[in-house]
């Protein structure tokens, strides 16, 4: 059941990402809905769901630009790993904290993917200042909405086990 709900969330986020990329990307900058969803599931979901969903979200970006196939998947998986471990120490239900987390996660994922380029693509992958500065902001703005959506699809965390 969890798998089906996560699959539905994934399809929805992919569709949203596609639509945003096609219609709402001023200057090539667009909100990374899939990254926000990966962050949300890492906060809300179980261990396998958190990492598997992040992996699949990364794989979408790898599929769209397969120059370094697997790079985004690895960056997203490690990002989910980090979030999953700190989620009990922070208070994520409020939108400001969700926005801060999404911004930090997008900086981490982008930086890690760029650094992977040194090993696998022969050089640091630099996407420009506009992308590097405004994408985390866009992700932060979209984060509360994606968290709300993820809360509908992903199973809520067991609070008794969080403390």
């Amino acid at each position: 059941m969890t798998f089906i709900r996560l699959a539905a969330l994934y399809v929805l986020c992919v569709a949203a990402q596609w639509w945003l990329g096609a219609h709402l990307s001023p200057g090539g900058v667009t909100a990374n809905v899939l990254l926000d969803a990966a962050v949300a599931v890492a906060v809300l979901g179980g261990p396998v769901a958190a990492h598997g969903f992040a992996f699949m979200c990364g794989l979408y970006f790898d599929f769209m630009s397969p120059r370094m196939f697997g790079g985004h998947a690895l960056a997203f998986t490690l990002m989910a790993r980090a979030i999953w471990f700190v989620r009990w120490r922070l208070d994520f239900p409020t939108p400001p904290s969700q926005m801060a987390l999404a911004a930090a996660a997008s900086v981490f994922a982008a930086a890690f993917h760029s650094l992977l380029g040194i090993v696998f693509a022969g050089g640091f992958i630099w996407r420009g200042w506009a992308f590097s500065v405004f994408t985390p902001v866009a992700n932060a703005v979209a984060a509360p909405f994606v968290f709300a959506l993820a809360a509908v699809f992903a199973p809520p965390p067991d609070k008794s086990r969080r403390r």
């Binding site: 769209m64 697997g70 992977l116």
Partner: protein
């Protein structure tokens, strides 16, 4: 709690290992192929809105070739539609021509009928002389049938059939010394004889001595030609030799519109000629 952490560690390790495996393996061509195939087959609006080059960027050559073939096919279908419209216009023009010819008592132009044939053998010893094609008597090919080729979108003479077997025929090329065809220069009334010389250019002989022929003028087959119907492009004049004390007529060098050595496929026209007297006698 401890078990959940263990699961998280295992999940992270598995998915990270999988990602690294993708990174290490040469997976980009496979992914590009899958992406191109998906964009092309599952999302036809994507393939219609983008050029094949955009869809196949990074895809292996065989996948790119498949998708390029589809784009070419689309373009050819459009050209086919244009050709159908042109053919309909030509048919109407031919009908008018037939009607006017009937009223004035002139013979009307024939409709071009025939078969396409592939060049299957060239004789190195007679390169400018002849070649064999893969159509013969079984396809209705007869001796003296005109042979045309297409180059740069225009049809032009290539030669004529001289020998016919069941499934093949020998074509005497326009460049052969034995070849000749009555032609006229565009915009002039007089006929001249285009003769092969065993090399790439033909000689257009028997032009009137006062013929003011210029380089670049187009030459077409004349109605007086025994082999060719009127109006088929023969070639372009590339040099003029004026009549002098030892030559009573003007001649010109003619470059063929369709180079026989470049022809891979040719159109063998079948003309409804009246049977020769000997054939009529045999029929009786």
């Amino acid at each position: 709690m401890h078990k959940e952490k263990q699961h998280a560690t295992i999940a992270a390790a598995v998915f990270s290992a999988l990602s690294l495996l993708f990174l290490l393996l040469p997976s980009s061509p496979v992914v590009n192929s899958a992406k191109a195939a998906l964009a092309f087959s599952l999302l036809p609006f994507v393939s219609a809105g983008h050029s094949a080059a955009e869809i196949t960027a990074g895809a292996p050559r065989n996948i790119a070739a498949l998708i390029n073939a589809e784009e070419e096919n689309r373009a050819l279908r459009l050209r086919q539609k244009d050709a159908d419209i042109t053919a309909a216009q030509l048919e109407a023009a031919l009908e008018t021509n037939r009607r006017l010819a009937a009223e004035t008592g002139l013979s009307a132009s024939e409709k071009w009928r025939g078969v396409w044939a592939r060049v299957m053998e060239r004789d190195p010893a007679h390169w400018n002389s002849s070649f064999l094609v893969d159509r013969g008597a079984s396809s209705g090919v007869q001796p003296h049938d005109p042979v045309l080729g297409v180059q740069d979108g225009r049809a032009g003479i290539v030669g004529k059939v001289v020998e016919v077997w069941r499934d093949s025929a020998k074509v005497l090329l326009a460049t052969d010394e034995m070849f000749s065809a009555v032609c006229y220069v565009e915009g002039r009334n007089w006929d001249a004889l285009a003769e092969g010389r065993g090399r790439a250019e033909l000689r257009l002989n028997y032009l009137p001595s006062d013929a003011n022929v210029e380089k670049g003028a187009k030459v077409f087959t004349s109605r007086s030609s025994v082999v060719f119907p009127q109006g088929i492009l023969a070639g372009t004049i590339i040099g003029v030799h004026q009549a002098g004390s030892f030559q009573t007529f003007t001649s010109a060098d003619l470059r063929l519109a369709v180079r026989p050595e470049a022809a891979k496929e040719v159109f063998i026209m079948s003309r409804n000629r009246p049977p020769a007297p000997a054939e009529q006698g045999a029929a009786k």
